[in-house]
Symmetry: C2
Subunit: 737 residues, 2 copies
């Protein structure tokens, strides 16, 4: 990074001073410690008075031995840090709800990151090459809002801080990327953020390997995260961090806010593992900052050390005091999740020597931070110039990278999708899905992904690419291991890195149960992740009820902003992929069969785009005797039953209802053209729960499905025993018409 | 353990021989190794030829330096182990599907456990004090079926082995406790089993602390588990194992089958962490057996060492060869999940020197194992005598323990539940839930549980008890930490330990997304777990959409064999608990409010037991003008809207639909008395997805709900903005009648 602004130089002077030669006893006692003692036996540095008896940070600076100018700079850092603390305290107080504890404890690391270390452009939060920051401990969002506010982001003005947690504000109770530019991902549900960060860092490594040239490293940013004890306890965090270690994500730097407090009190009651040892086992570089409350130089030095370790991600355990500065609530769960209360806010102001009104940013602090707007613009301009150079020399790569950045696809990309005729050989939709993935990978440079150790069952390998690995990060087949939840959250990180990226991930459909937390966040955070979910029913056979989804289709149909697609054959699988790619602001779940299915007459990509459509009909005037509705592997059964009924002289319409959400979005006129209100004789068949089907078949219709668990046996046998047969549909239809 | 049967003495002689003085070079090279090198760099002992080039186990025994009798015994062990291997191979071959690889690799440890170490009674698989075994790598279930068969369990006869994975068999594709006595828990979804094992071991520690006396340790068993690489990658396993370390579960002994192969190939592609270091970090004792294929003495010695470590659980990493003995498929993913094929089965028979027909158990092996039936009966008889002694001396404790063992509750236990009148103060159902829990804990000795770090939000503390901890295991408040998935699976283990145990666990309702895998297994495995899920809607307010459930009610209503209950006030909360306790073979989910709710006229415990019931009605002849339906916090809105409409002269019925599943189970007559087919003017209101409500309101009715994500704001504001109001219900009702 080369800039010439004096204020940035000031920051750099801090960085360059970071503790190679400790200059005071205080600094010595504060210097980075490698782990060695267990949580609970941490010795706080002498001279640093934290929590209850605290004098605040003012007495704990590096003042004594420093130069006079450093002295003033250090005081300004203190002031900036306290500004962050009080913006947080004041916003929570005004909202009378929220989490002041983490922002008060993590203000120092927040300050160092946003004021000294990170490269970003406040006026363009979407600048491609920005450093990414993820607050995995999302409840502490006032920390991030305060930092975005100081840094000059338009998304968090003073009035936004004042409307924290209020209807329609840009400052909701947990960070939401779709509400607040500058927030990269949506966090709050614990453990998700660090897994998103792994995704962000992983895709940086991938893109850097694909696009960087010896003379032009056009992709080059860090990913920072703050996670708390809660994140550390969540299994998803361990899954994602195991992968981060495996992949050697050297540019991922995660701060573990070790404050010993969770909602139920001291972490001693449930969390006594040695986190550092676990992370060393996961292949991370680990650093411990013993005094995270005031040890600015330690923070700076730790980041420097982390950056120097290029083949491993770094966990910086930073011991802080939750609610730092609050005389009566620091170091206690009472600072975690409630407003401090007017009296304690006053006491904290006195304790930290903060004479200002609520929400006040002192002029010198404001001035100090004001450089980030011009500096950020300069950083982006510099990068733009670099990109222009790149484009001149590497035209094709530049075009591809550009499409990843702006999310625009080559015209006619969808023509790459295969189409099928009834004469095409019967095949499992999981295999057809692989044909689509491989076809799309050729035209969509942002398509990458893989499976949770089921690539050969989910059929997700891209044949023209190798494996994304530590030493081959340019490749596009991602091997997630048996880590469904981490996989989903990593894909959210990938999707939210840049608009042109299209991550897909795969497992058996039933194991969406393991990753639902991440899938819901795909939906909420508008992340276009394609969930390739095979073995989508009892049709998987012998593996039995632990592996057979029943309620899963219903459960995703009920989830907002996610497309549940269950294609029946080749054309519908292609259609499902078209829909999934085109829906840039919502994820898609594709339920795919293990078993072979015929290519049915009447199916089409265009039909899938409407969610529900007629595949055959021998009636006239939109008034068949009966409507048979099927999805996925049961559309074949509906079609066969239709043929039977037609032989018996009935007029029959067969409808594929591949995506309820898309069908719901069609005009009333269209919907009535498929499912006319006047026809109440309707039979549906789907190898899953009938829950919700009343909407489609009406109170007079009949839904054939499975409202209990499946069984272990060959698929055909189970279908027959559970009554998912042509005969059952015919019988039900005859009873209705 | 004191027995006098000669065959058990034989087993004990094996145990006592275990490697304090290695007697051959072979043994020396095989002896227990502490970890130190990474997976991938493991050196197999010389002389042991594994996998592709294998001569099989016959050449690798301890024969050289042993006595002649030991010689014969060792040969018999080999033969027994190969019997296990071939029963597995043959069953998979006959089914033409299944997983032969793990049973072939883990047969030695399986043999040592079931033939030499574990204490059980084959003719009473439910004997209370049995050692528990959990095959967390459930796909390898043929290992367990073969062992149960050899041990003499009636559940797995030869014909059951021959009908592996067939319709109606006792030998499904993954172990199912409800199908196969002798199988403790249902596994297959990876990571669940080891977490169940933590629950089993945890409750043993709890019951031992509660009931054991210095002169009579009436509760005393071990919990063994086998988990594979897949389990190790799953976050749930890390969550549960972190707790096991925290709790110091010294009688939990888990074998980590380190075979380097998962479905996608070598674990090198996605799993290179140092598992041993992670487990040391989690507070476990770790042992590594380098030669798990033939190192019987190492296995024995490791178990001995593990038992000697009383304050920590033990992970025994045991390096095995997947598909051991198969000349062309061992050590490859192709042995993992498919039948070997006739040709390879033949080759394996030759390689391991196995001349027998499929499914044959050699007579000497049969004879050797036959002692387990009398020995098991003796073990139980001995324990029964011990219990009789206990009962004499400790009458009250014995009665309590008995009720935990047989699942019978004191007569009139349900009278302990509080009841309320409309004059009772308004309160949040989460608080009312706490009143119920505390009332029930006094009369139900098996009620224990806690929260995933939200005890003070979920209101789950039992006030008369302390915390279950390493040093206070007799207490009943469990602190799970922020580990929802592990919590659910641990509770499954507790519930399936003994019929009288009633575990409950708690988090915010939205975070069921994190634990759905475990919840589905509660349902499938018929485990009575009570899920106390608070903050059940947008009514939680400011925490915003990441924390606000929308689709969750629907998603559980669609899940088989689980009760979704959403009580509206005090009486309904008490009713929900009554139902949850009485449903011994299914779990219950209680959705509870954060916000205060009034006690409504007309609600009752008896009403809840029917799932849906009328709380007020001013009509006659079962023909109101309109039916208003509400659940939980919205029942109040429905009731108020009813009052409004009555003022306008309408006849109105207000229905509480607290549990759809229970309502579905009522007679048609009863259902029609609540929701008569003749009344199509129906309005429902629920602060959740409307998905599925067509069933209740019919195609002419109106469902008021939320089909998008929530928002961060005070609860009242969100209700109003999203249209969940009395006015909206009144308006909808007026439009219909």
């Amino acid at each position: 990074m080369a800039t010439s602004t004096s204020s940035l130089s000031l920051s750099q002077s801090f960085l360059s001073r970071s503790s190679p030669n400790p200059i005071s006893t205080h600094q010595q006692s504060n210097r980075l410690a490698r782990f060695g003692s267990k949580p609970g036996s941490i010795s706080l540095s002498s001279g640093v008075v934290a929590g209850r008896k605290g004098l605040g940070s003012r007495g704990a600076t590096v003042r004594a031995a420093a130069e006079k100018t450093d002295d003033a700079a250090a005081a300004l850092v203190d002031k900036s840090v306290n500004t962050i603390r009080f913006l947080s305290v004041d916003a929570v107080e005004k909202a009378t709800s929220g989490h002041p504890g983490l922002p008060m404890g993590c203000a120092p690391v927040g300050h160092v990151l946003y004021d000294e270390v990170m490269r970003y452009n406040p006026k363009n939060p979407y600048w491609f090459n920005r450093d990414r920051f993820v607050l995995s401990a999302g409840h502490g969002c006032m920390l991030q809002y305060a930092l975005l506010h100081l840094a000059g982001y338009d998304s968090v003005k003073e009035e936004d801080l004042k409307s924290f947690r209020q209807w329609g504000s840009k400052t909701p109770g947990h960070p939401e990327n779709f509400e607040t530019p500058g927030v990269e991902v949506t966090t709050g549900p614990l453990g998700q953020g660090i897994a998103n960060a792994v995704g962000l860092a992983m895709v940086e490594k991938h893109l850097a390997a694909r696009f960087n040239k010896p003379d032009n490293e056009i992709v080059d940013h860090y990913t920072y995260a703050i996670l708390g004890d809660g994140c550390q306890m969540e299994g998803i965090a361990n899954e994602a961090c195991s992968l981060a270690g495996h992949w050697g994500l050297g540019k991922l730097i995660a701060f573990y806010d070790d404050n010993h407090i969770s909602i139920d009190g001291n972490t001693e009651i449930a969390f006594t593992e040695t986190v550092e040892m676990r992370f060393e086992g996961l292949g991370w570089h680990v650093i411990w900052i013993k005094n995270g409350n005031t040890g600015y130089n330690d923070i700076r030095a730790a980041i420097k050390e982390a950056k120097a370790v290029k083949d491993k991600p770094t966990l910086i355990k930073i011991t802080t005091t939750i609610g730092y500065g609050s005389p009566n609530k620091a170091n206690s769960y009472s600072a975690h999740g409630s407003a401090l209360g007017a009296k304690e806010v006053d006491a904290t102001r006195k304790n930290l020597g903060w004479p200002y009104e609520p929400f006040h940013v002192p002029e010198d602090v404001k001035k100090h931070w004001s450089r980030h707007v011009p500096d950020g613009a300069a950083l982006e301009a510099e990068w733009n110039a670099k990109f222009a150079e790149y484009e001149k020399k590497y035209k094709q790569e530049a075009a591809e990278l550009k499409s990843l950045i702006n999310g625009e696809f080559p015209v006619g990309w969808e023509k790459a999708l295969p189409t099928y005729t009834p004469e095409s050989p019967a095949d499992a939709t999981r295999n057809l899905s692989q044909q689509c993935l491989n076809a799309l990978a050729k035209v969509l440079p942002g398509l990458l992904g893989g499976s949770a150790d089921l690539a050969s069952s989910n059929m997700t390998l891209l044949k023209m690419f190798g494996n994304f690995q530590k030493e081959t990060p340019e490749e596009r087949n991602v091997r997630f291991g048996v880590r469904e939840h981490g996989m989903g959250a990593i894909c959210n990180g990938i999707a939210l890195h840049s608009p042109g990226l299209i991550p897909y991930c795969a497992t058996f459909f039933v194991f969406t149960d393991y990753m639902r937390g991440a899938m819901r966040l795909s939906a909420l955070s508008e992340a276009r992740v394609i969930y390739v979910m095979t073995h989508d029913s009892i049709g998987l056979g012998e593996d039995g009820p632990t592996h057979q989804p029943i309620e899963h289709l219903s459960s995703f149909r009920a989830m907002p902003n996610i497309l549940m697609l269950r294609p029946a054959d080749g054309n519908e699988t292609a259609g499902a992929y078209k829909v999934a790619v085109m829906n840039r602001k919502r994820p898609s779940v594709l339920a795919l069969s293990r078993q072979k299915l015929p290519n049915l007459p009447g199916t089409s990509i265009a039909g899938v785009e409407k969610g529900g459509y007629v595949i055959s009909d021998n009636s006239v005037g939109n008034k068949p005797d009966v409507i048979l509705i099927g999805t996925g592997s049961e559309l074949e059964i509906a079609a066969k039953a239709g043929d039977e009924l037609k032989k018996g002289g009935k007029t029959v319409r067969v409808v594929s209802l591949v995506s309820w959400e898309l069908f719901d979005e069609q005009s009333d006129e269209y919907k009535d053209s498929v499912l006319p209100a006047s026809v109440s004789a309707r039979v549906s068949i789907e190898a899953g729960s009938t829950f919700g089907w009343e909407k489609m078949v009406g109170s007079k219709g009949k839904a054939i499905g499975i409202d209990h668990f499946g069984a272990s046996a060959p698929a055909d046998k189970i279908y027959k025993e559970l009554g998912l047969t042509v005969e059952a549909v015919v019988e039900a239809a005859k009873a209705l018409c």
